[in-house]
């Protein structure tokens, strides 16, 4: 398995497009104008080819991992080789249903006025979060963007803590001070929740740096891995490239997970990016780049396993592009008018939860009744979290000025009221040079 990854040097990517598929549409756009002035141009182009609702995306996507290719050629009948056990299947199903039910409840609560500000929902992308995060240990870190509710839930932050945070109550995971876009949990190693796209990538790289530092400088036994989640729009941002460079340069234990849902608010990925195949940017910096069908949790999980093992072994970073789709608008305030209904329908038919359900039934891993029981349980969890959040108090006035600094008064004054620098313990361990 290790031989299929080159730890240094550039991996030649496997050709993705089947040779018989013509590229005329892409060239046509290129010759008429280099600026696609509007998304409607893309839409009119796509409607003229009814068989391929979106000609730039393959309708069946193959995960490009070398390992999977080996697996497929090795196994005589791939259907006889199950990718998950029953327990894993149920765990994955439960996590995805939790993500979906929670986000649907958020929408309801928003329209009822319980939640406010910017709320970005994750419907449709659950396979990516579940596929990756369920492979992590508690010490591993997750860094996300503003679309972070489900990442926090998958990592183990209780649903009631996230819901209270969204309602702005004192019992939220950040005591109501963070909000929808800033989910932090030290206990579960969720390092945020960042509103600026691209901001989370260097922070994630820093957490990975810490892991390597602990191992090499502090000589601790540390194999923590960090996952950085971000979208297609972020892949055009300078910080993304800066971090790909440094992560590969220093072989940091990080996986860069691109949730390519094709849209950055109303800006189509194809209108914004010179080379829309994001996975290619990995080999350009000396790390493997993979493209995977992000609507299929099992495929995501396979690729994720490889990438995370690679990082744990100290072989460095990986870039994984997950082709996925968000069923709702960019945020709850987005009217979502620019996206083609045919495209939406195409992806709705590939709902990851339905796909996993089908896999479970086809392989007789669980019965309909068991899955229904899980759904009911999740509904109850989400209902309970809403009740809890409703019943929780808003933050008290005294909380307004708290937590600006870790040291209580910000003057270098410790909890006992005197200057920290006078405390002998402050200077404990100072060495003589």
């Amino acid at each position: 398995m290790a031989s299929s990854f080159l730890s240094s040097g550039i991996i030649q990517p496997l050709p993705l497009r089947s040779p018989d598929k013509p590229q005329t549409l892409f060239d046509h756009l290129k010759t008429t104008s280099t600026f696609l002035g509007s998304t409607s141009k893309l839409r009119s182009v796509s409607l003229s080819k009814p068989n391929l609702p979106n000609p730039h995306r393959r309708s069946t996507v193959v995960a490009v991992s070398d390992v999977l290719k080996e697996k497929k050629t090795k196994s005589a009948a791939s259907s006889s080789q199950l990718l998950i056990t029953r327990e894993e299947g149920l765990e994955l199903y439960e996590d995805m249903v939790l993500g979906r039910a929670f986000e649907d409840m958020c929408a309801q609560m928003y329209y009822r006025g319980k939640m406010f500000g910017f709320v970005h929902l994750y419907n449709g992308q659950e396979a990516v979060s579940t596929g990756f995060i369920k492979l992590l240990k508690k010490e591993d870190c997750v860094v996300s963007t503003y679309r972070d509710h489900v990442h926090a839930l998958s990592k183990g932050v209780p649903a009631r803590a996230v819901m209270s945070e969204l309602f702005g109550k004192a019992t939220g995971c950040c005591r109501g001070q963070g909000g929808s876009m800033h989910m932090f949990s030290k206990e579960h190693n969720v390092l945020g929740g960042f509103a600026f796209i691209g901001e989370g990538i260097p922070v994630a790289t820093g957490a990975a740096f810490t892991s390597k530092y602990k191992r090499e400088v502090l000589k601790e036994d540390c194999d923590e891995v960090t996952l950085a989640f971000f979208g297609d729009g972020t892949c055009n941002n300078g910080q993304f490239f800066e971090c790909l460079n440094m992560a590969a340069l220093w072989k940091l234990p990080i996986v860069f997970v691109v949730e390519n849902n094709l849209w950055a608010i109303g800006m189509s990925h194809l209108r914004a990016t010179s080379d829309p195949e994001i996975w290619k940017k990995g080999p350009a910096f000396g790390m493997p780049g993979f493209h995977v069908d992000g609507m299929d949790v099992l495929k995501v999980r396979e690729v994720a396993k490889e990438a995370i093992q690679r990082a744990r072994r100290g072989e460095g970073p990986t870039l994984v592009e997950c082709e996925t789709y968000r069923f709702r608008g960019h945020s709850l305030a987005d009217p979502d008018e620019l996206r083609d209904p045919a495209e939406k329908a195409h992806y709705a038919a590939r709902d990851p939860i339905t796909a996993l359900k089908k896999y479970i039934f086809d392989n007789k891993l669980a019965s309909e009744a068991e899955l229904k029981a899980i759904e009911k349980k999740i509904d109850e969890v989400v209902e309970e979290s809403v009740e809890f959040a409703d019943a929780s108090p808003p933050p008290p006035r005294s909380q307004l000025l708290e937590n600006v600094f870790a040291d209580p008064k910000g003057f270098g004054i410790g909890p006992d009221g005197s200057y920290r620098c006078e405390d002998p313990k402050f200077t404990e361990g100072t060495a003589h040079v």
């Binding site: 950040c174 922070v203 820093g206 100072t430």
Partner: protein, 367 residues
């Protein structure tokens, strides 16, 4: 031994009403002279030696021994795992520092000058300063961003801005502005040990200057409190509040004013955020006149904040309007004579002090 050292540290550093005058650098309270560069170098060295979680990251800090030789010798001593040369990616490595600080390490991030910090300001403000608040205390960020700030000599507009006011406006940051070697040592050590993000604004022109340092300051456990100003020179007629390189000019101006019968009290702020409002106000209540001196741009500057603080708390004590001296409201020119005109000079401070004492003096210098 520890008991006496504690007493002496508090005696020297905290007391504001001691009659000892540190007015001119020709007085040596201890036999040793140390440049600011050495002070910073030894401070970082000692802190890295004391705590293995402290590491230094920046451009040219390792093999080049530091762009201004502040980190000389550190690579050889601590190895490339702890003194890390980065590619030219301020946003990237500032963010990496913040992420490492989130997760338990104590980074010192060096910017070659604070002008370059603009490329990383998103991380300083949004992911460092605000995180303790946004996470309700779960995630503290024990990071230090340091580097030279303000004007140097003939380096042009993009290398000469003073960022004290910009960073000083942001809650969640501590902003320190050392002047002497003792300031540099004590404040940098306090900053590295502090659990919050600290912006440590040094000055390139001060790096090579020597100052006397006391025995206490040489001890490896020395540190200064954050948020306390220092009265560099006692006086009773007018208060001059200033920081960094302008402390030097103010002290020289105070000497000249003394010969003309005006006794000026010079306060070295040492810390822009938290601002030592009580020291400033106590001084103004004593002298009734205030002049603020800074190198940065005048609009929304440090002087404006100090003036407002005095109006809020000590308005009745003022005998004259507050005078604010700042750099000219222009990008820094290159020509040497224009650069001189764009920065406060000792004459400007003297004239402003005289104006507050109603000894008339023209507002603008002759060209």
């Amino acid at each position: 031994m520890w008991g006496t050292m504690r007493q002496r540290v508090s005696y020297l550093a905290l007391s504001r009403t001691r009659p000892v005058v540190y007015a001119s650098r020709s007085y040596a309270s201890g036999p040793k002279q140390m440049t600011v560069r050495e002070a910073l170098n030894t401070a970082i060295d000692e802190e890295m030696s004391a705590d293995p979680k402290v590491f230094l990251m920046g451009e040219e800090v390792g093999e080049y021994q530091g762009a201004y030789k502040i980190s000389k010798g550190l690579l050889d001593k601590y190895g490339p795992g702890r003194v890390i040369d980065t590619p030219i990616t301020e946003a990237g490595f500032a963010g990496i520092g913040v992420g490492a600080a989130y997760h338990g390490l104590k980074p010192i991030i060096e910017f070659m000058t604070f002008n370059f910090s603009l490329q990383a300001i998103d991380h300083i403000i949004n992911s460092a300063a605000k995180s303790n608040y946004m996470s309700a205390g779960q995630i503290s960020v024990p990071i230090v961003f340091r580097g030279p700030n303000g004007a140097a000599a003939g380096v042009g507009a993009q290398h000469s801005q003073c960022f004290a006011a910009w960073y000083g406006a942001c809650p969640g940051l501590k902003v320190l502005v050392p002047y002497s070697s003792e300031d540099a040592r004590g404040l940098l050590k306090a900053a590295i040990r502090d659990p919050d993000p600290v912006v440590f604004l040094e000055n390139e022109l001060l790096y090579g200057q020597s100052f006397p340092v006391s025995e206490e300051a040489l001890d490896s456990s020395f540190s200064l409190p954050i948020g306390k100003a220092k009265i560099e020179r006692e006086g009773k007629d007018v208060t001059i509040v200033t920081y960094a390189r302008m402390v030097d000019y103010s002290l020289q101006a105070a000497e000249i004013l003394a010969k003309e019968g005006i006794s000026a009290e010079v306060i070295n702020l040492r810390s822009i955020r938290p601002l030592d409002r009580s020291a400033i106000n106590a001084s103004v209540r004593k002298t009734s006149r205030l002049v603020t001196v800074e190198e940065g741009f005048p609009q929304h500057g440090v002087g404006a904040e100090i003036c407002m603080s005095v109006i809020e708390e000590s308005f009745d004590f003022l005998d004259a309007p507050v005078e604010r001296i700042a750099g000219a409201d222009i990008p820094m020119p290159y020509a040497a004579n224009l650069e001189r005109m764009a920065l406060p000079q000792i004459d400007d401070i003297i004239r402003a002090a005289k104006r507050t004492c109603y000894r008339s003096a023209p507002k603008a210098a002759a060209a």
